[in-house]
């Protein structure tokens, strides 16, 4: 098997998206990670999410020896697809670091 062949197999954008929907029900969905100039990084889900929801996106890598970690994103609703699914822009989330570094008791 050539490197090129191996590489082509790994280039799938299938992701596992998990989080809580607008009914606060935990869900796990498979989706395709998309990117374009208008929406940036985005996913399409069958369910609706609350404004500002944090969702976790894990890349499904068929040939990785290590399981990919879920990455948190803030989901921003873009619109509905013709099939009635919901498209969300994925905005990166920064952990909050407001405390100064003090020695903790």
């Amino acid at each position: 098997m050539t490197n090129l062949e191996t590489q082509s197999l790994t280039q799938t954008g299938v992701v596992e998206v998990s989080g809580w929907d607008d009914h606060e029900v935990f869900f796990v969905e498979r989706s395709e990670l998309g990117w374009d100039d208008y929406a940036g990084k985005h996913v399409t889900l069958t369910r609706m999410l609350s404004e500002g929801s944090i969702i976790f996106v894990r890349l499904i890598q068929p040939m990785s020896m290590h399981r990919a970690n879920p990455i948190p994103y803030e989901a921003e609703f873009i619109g509905c697809s013709p099939e009635g699914n919901h498209q969300f822009r994925l905005n990166g989330v920064q952990p909050r670091h407001s405390r100064e570094n003090y020695t903790v008791n």
């Binding site: 098997m1 062949e5 191996t6 082509s8 197999l9 799938t12 299938v14 596992e16 998990s18 989080g19 809580w20 606060e24 029900v25 935990f26 869900f27 796990v28 498979r30 944090i54 976790f56 499904i60 890598q61 068929p62 040939m63 990785s64 020896m65 399981r67 970690n69 879920p70 948190p72 989330v93 920064q94 952990p95 909050r96 670091h97 407001s98 405390r99 100064e100 003090y102 020695t103 903790v104 008791n105």
Partner: protein
């Protein structure tokens, strides 16, 4: 502390006839004072002091005799129990008092006790120190005649629910003390402060923090010991999974992992592969529910150029990629019947065919399949091939849901905290007790994956050293206590609930009494006794079926 040791020596030295009263106490006091911290901090094996009376060193036994030496040891032990430790010195009490004289006097007193206090007359400054994690112990002076005397206490606890707020007041009343304690104060101290009580309070808190640190350290060690290839668990159900995984990994060709979504099937599959004799070979993971049949076929078996629209080049499939290693088929229960036939061919004949190619290729792969469906029921309903089911399920491992192993939650929380502290560059030490309670009451429909997401979210939002309820996802903050099977609830007697529950667990375990007893948290003998009491046949059976 030091006063006690000095007084003790003073007493014995001054009452000893052979030593001049006018000289000895001061001399001994000096010697003791000079050595006390060194002796205690260095943890000497023989703590009895040496006195340089003459050009030679004389031990306490020589000076006062063996009995006094023993008493010395007792005094030393008492002193040692209040000696300055690293924990004590890192405990920074905050003194909040609007009276400058009392504030300074208390600061000096606490400093003499070996602590390093910070003092302020400003409530906002005190709250800022609490919010920043600078102070975990607060001595706050209040005036009970104020309209809301406990306002500072409430705000301090909102800033950090783990902070120990000791209320001081000149107007002590029992009602006031009870109200303060009810609102979350650690203690209610009347002014002027009782020094012994103050010291005891500080020492107890220092010991508490020391104990917690040691517990955290032990938990981290425990985590290392109980981690099995990235899977964490100490519950009987998980220990059984680990044990069985170790056994089958060396010998399997096909394994079926059964369990709910998010329970950790992929991690178990990876563990099996790593322990197996082909652990150094490739592992290919394919989620069968993520794609349509044609794409799945192409991914698993590969395709040749021109096999279908868009097939611009020839590609190998995952079976070829992992030849000599392992293929993990997640959600195998989602595959169509035609795809199942192709998978059966791989298992039976160890051969594959790329899409669009007449060439048959031999592959040597081990297969791990996983499903969250009841495949037996799927077979009965005709949605899953019986022959494939029997091929796959020759070895079956059931991964328990998180609800079945709630005792693993604290360990999993620690595991994920470490993981996300590292990822997000944080230093969160743990969860507050009320946040822990919320996690233990949640039903966890999304299993470990949901717990991981909760901890990850909390690590992102938390600004303190501990995750509190307000850092958890919003729906968890307002959820009431979990009531198992709420929707089917009926007013049964406890005896009936037990009877029904045992039967359900036995059914879930396919009649395995050993496994059922482990899940129920009782011994097998107890299970037999309950079954017998409920009128079931408990004689040994060969089929493994339940009574």
């Amino acid at each position: 502390m030091a006063h006690f040791g000095r007084d003790f020596l003073h007493f014995f030295a001054s009452s000893h006839a052979s030593l001049p009263r006018s000289v000895t106490p001061k001399f001994l006091e000096h010697r003791f004072h000079a050595t006390d911290r060194i002796l205690l901090s260095e943890e000497r094996s023989s703590p009895r002091p040496q006195f340089r009376l003459f050009p030679v060193d004389i031990s306490v036994e020589h000076l006062f005799g063996t009995a006094v030496a023993s008493l010395w040891d007792m005094a030393y032990a008492t002193y040692k129990s209040v000696a300055i430790t690293p924990v004590q010195s890192s405990l920074t009490p905050c003194i909040f008092d609007d009276d400058p004289n009392e504030r300074d006097s208390l600061a000096h007193l606490i400093t003499d006790m070996g602590y390093e206090p910070v003092s302020t007359p400003d409530a906002e400054e005190a709250l800022r120190l609490i919010r920043m994690g600078r102070c975990r112990v607060v001595f706050a002076s209040i005036h009970l005649e104020n309209p809301d005397p406990f306002d500072f206490l409430d705000r301090a606890l909102r800033c950090d629910p783990g902070v120990h707020v000791n209320i001081m007041t000149a107007q002590y009343t029992l009602e006031g003390a009870l109200e303060a304690i009810r609102r979350g104060a650690t203690d209610f101290l009347p002014k002027p402060l009782d020094h012994v009580r103050l010291k005891r309070t500080l020492d107890e808190l220092a010991a508490l923090y020391d104990q917690r640190r040691r517990a955290r350290s032990l938990e981290e060690q425990l985590l290392k010991d109980l981690e099995f290839h990235g899977i964490v668990g100490k519950s009987p159900a998980m220990l059984e999974v680990f044990d069985f995984t170790r056994k089958v990994a060396r010998h399997y060709t096909n394994v079926l992992l059964v369990g709910p979504t998010g329970a950790g099937k992929e991690l178990v599959a990876r563990a099996i592969h790593l322990i197996s004799p082909v652990g150094q070979q490739r592992l290919a993971v394919c989620n069968c529910s993520a794609m349509v049949d044609t794409l799945l076929e192409s991914q698993l078996f590969g395709h040749v150029r021109g096999a279908f629209t868009g097939a611009t080049d020839t590609r190998p499939g995952l079976f070829e990629y992992a030849n000599g290693g392992t293929v993990f088929l997640d959600e195998v229960g989602e595959t169509s019947l035609p795809m199942q036939a192709k998978l059966l061919r791989v298992i039976q004949n160890r051969e594959i065919q790329r899409v669009g190619s007449p060439e048959v290729k031999q592959v040597n792969v081990r297969l791990i399949a996983a499903t969250n469906r009841d495949l037996r029921a799927e077979v009965l309903s005709g949605r899953f091939r019986e022959d494939l089911f029997y091929r796959l399920s020759s070895i079956q491992i059931r991964i328990p849901s998180l609800a079945e192993r709630l005792e693993d939650i604290p360990l999993l929380v620690r595991f994920f905290l470490k993981k996300y502290n590292d990822s997000y560059g944080k230093n969160i030490a743990g969860l507050t007790r009320r946040a822990q309670t919320v996690l233990l009451q949640h039903p966890w429909p999304g299993n470990v994956r949901e717990l991981e997401n909760v901890i990850s979210t909390a690590c992102i939002t938390a600004m303190g050293d501990f995750i509190d309820i307000s850092d958890l996802p919003e729906h968890l903050q307002h959820r009431g206590p979990r009531i198992a099977g709420d929707e089917d609830w009926r007013p049964l007697s406890l005896e009936d609930v037990r009877k029904v529950h045992i039967q359900k667990v036995l059914q879930m375990c396919n009649g395995s009494r050993l496994r059922a007893a482990q899940i129920l948290g009782i011994g097998r003998t107890s299970l037999y006794r309950y079954l017998k009491r409920d009128g079931y046949d408990v004689r040994p059976h060969t089929s493994g079926a339940a009574a």
